[in-house]
Amino acid sequence: MTELKISDVTLSFGGLKALSDVDMTIEPGLITSIIGPNGAGKTSMLNCISGFYHPTQGDIFYKDKKLTHASPHQISNMGIARAFQNLELFSGLTVLDNLLLARHQNLKYSFLHAVFFFGKASRVESENRSFVEDVIDFMELEPYRKSLVGNLSYGIQKKVEVARALTLAPDILLLDEPMAGMNIEEKEDIVRFVMDIQKERNITVVLVEHDLGVVMDISDRIYVLDFGEVIGSGTPEEVSQNPKVIEAYIGEE
């Protein structure tokens, strides 16, 4: 079974410890949320998993494979996709091209096929297109298919970001604050998508989010980080009863 295991991960920048001895297990098929106050190390954790940072100590395992020192493209090829917090889209391209790009590794044809564009390249590209259309359909992006990503509104761009990660056909999807800066309606939309992603596509979701209401409602497991340490974990009920978590969020009584 797919399982992501993070054991004793420490990440330090000089004297600053962004993460210290973090232990997490991400169970397959569930929505696992990572929450915590600002600067708690949530995004650093995602960066470690997706290979943009490499832990100073400790290891990350995925299906018994060690990916502590793998680079982002290797990790995305293993089936771990990631949506960024600050939009990292290809702004000069259309929504369609952005999604087609995500299929890079799944397209098997040679350079020569591409140059002459006969047989195989043409066939693979049209199959690729229908795969992408499937995702566009799923994420309800049809009206924006041909518009440049840079010209779209923030809410739509966030959706494209999630769609692009989904196009990688991952087993695990890392979502970094997909709801930040959105209004209630857009938030509800994204929540519905996240749940659909988990249920219909059977993808394990790792969610980093500030909106506690959303997190408590949809998560199966929650890890709470504060100053780079795990201060609480478990089901939403367990976490909301945890005195340490209450202290971190509300302060001492």
């Binding site: 997706s50 943009f52 680079s71 982002p72 493209h73 995305s76 090829n77 996709a81 990631r82 960024f84 990292e88 889209l89 290809f90 702004s91 000069g92 391209l93 091209d97 087609l100 790009l101 995500a102 299929r103 890079h104 590794q105 397209l107 044809y109 350079f111 096929h113 591409a114 140059v115 002459f116 564009f117 390249a121 043409s122 066939r123 590209e125 049209s126 297109r129 229908s130 259309e133 692009r164 990688l168």
Partner: protein, 364 residues
């Protein structure tokens, strides 16, 4: 299945494969075919003379080089200030064959298409090598790395006796099915040869841009962090972009060597590199048709300025060389004006024209 394939109006796609077509309507394809026919036919009715045919050949060679530069700088967003050096690599590949095997060796005179491809590959190898710093360097720092290659290239050519220390190395006349290509037919023959190469390479790029190999280039330009997360190696993609540009430059270099019937270092200086960059900018970075407009515009400008200065020189005191002074001036002026008023280049005018005529005969 689509109802009307002649106009864009009412032209519907019913399969994804239909959407891959290079020409979306029959009208587009017909116009393009007629244009190609015109390109092939005009020298038969209209004798331009050697002097101007030489200029036309030069434009076509510049188009080949700029197509490559546009791939690396326009599509992949990596500024290359050493493009003339890559063109030089191609030219000196032909020259080295001449130096080692003799000016009129069969490889040079009979198997010239092979030698042109070989020069392209040589350019690609050097392009890849020079692109290696792209693993670590970005933006301006990478541009400086390419500049250093330009310097090293010039230095090597100037000091190696094998390359005649930058003095002209002559290249023999080539043979075609009809026999040796003589003095009278030389430029016309190469016009056709280069035209065919330009068309082949143009379609090659067009196809490439529709596939993952083209999209990868744009991905590293727009956001190489995200490109990494999408499963492509950003460093390798950049090296590949440089190799691709090197191939085009190498081919352009070999053609340059054949058309000029000699290779000397002054055709591959920093000034030429900047010229290519200017052509790419004026034509329109990141567009395929921009690679055609740019060289035509800049080379024509040079020619016109030369003519005007000659005409003006008769009114000026003798000894003033107006052409030498006004060439760099107009060249710089054009670049500045383009950067200020049309940074997307002539290709943008083409785009606007096309979108106006798209719905013809309807207004909206």
């Amino acid at each position: 299945m689509s109802q009307n394939r002649w106009l864009a109006t009412g032209n519907f796609y019913t399969t994804y494969r239909e959407e891959q077509r290079t020409f979306s309507t029959h009208l587009d394809r017909t116009i393009f075919t007629l244009f190609l026919v015109l390109l092939f036919a005009w020298p038969m009715f209209f004798d331009l003379g050697n002097k101007y045919m030489f200029v036309v050949d030069n434009i076509l060679i510049a188009i080949v080089a700029v197509m490559g530069l546009n791939l690396v700088t326009g599509f992949a967003g990596l500024i290359s200030i050493g493009h003339a050096a890559f063109v030089g690599i191609g030219a000196y590949t032909v020259a080295s064959v001449c130096r080692t095997m003799g000016t009129s060796h069969e490889l040079v005179t009979h198997f010239w298409p092979l030698l042109i491809v070989l020069s392209g590959l040589m350019g690609a190898i050097f392009g890849g090598l020079v692109g290696l710093p792209a693993f670590r360097l970005k933006h301006l720092y990478l541009a400086i790395a390419t500049l250093s290659f330009q310097m090293i290239f010039q230095w090597v050519i100037n000091f190696m006796t094998f390359f005649n220390q930058g003095q002209t190395i002559s290249i023999g006349r080539v043979y075609w099915i009809t026999g040796k290509v003589g003095r009278g037919d030389h430029y016309e023959f190469w016009y056709y040869a280069i035209l065919v190469i330009v068309i082949l390479l143009g379609f090659g790029i067009r196809n490439l841009l529709k596939t993952k190999y083209g999209r990868a280039l744009v991905a590293v330009r727009d956001n190489d962090r995200a490109a990494d997360a999408m499963g492509m190696h950003p460093g390798l993609t950049k090296v590949y972009a440089f190799a691709l540009a090197g191939f085009f430059a190498g081919v352009a270099g070999a053609l340059h060597a054949y058309v000029f019937r000699g290779v000397g270092f002054e055709s591959f200086t920093l000034h030429e590199s900047v010229s290519y960059l200017a052509m790419a900018i004026v034509g329109g970075l990141g567009t395929l048709n921009g690679s055609f407009w740019g060289p035509v515009a800049i080379r024509m400008l040079d020619l016109q300025v030369e003519h005007l200065s000659e005409a003006a020189a008769s009114y000026l005191p003798q000894g003033t060389n107006l052409a030498t002074a006004s060439k760099p001036l107009t060249f710089g002026l054009v670049i500045v004006l383009f950067l200020m008023f049309e940074p997307r280049g002539i290709a943008n005018w083409w785009r606007i024209t096309k979108s106006y005529t798209k719905l013809w005969p309807f207004r909206y």
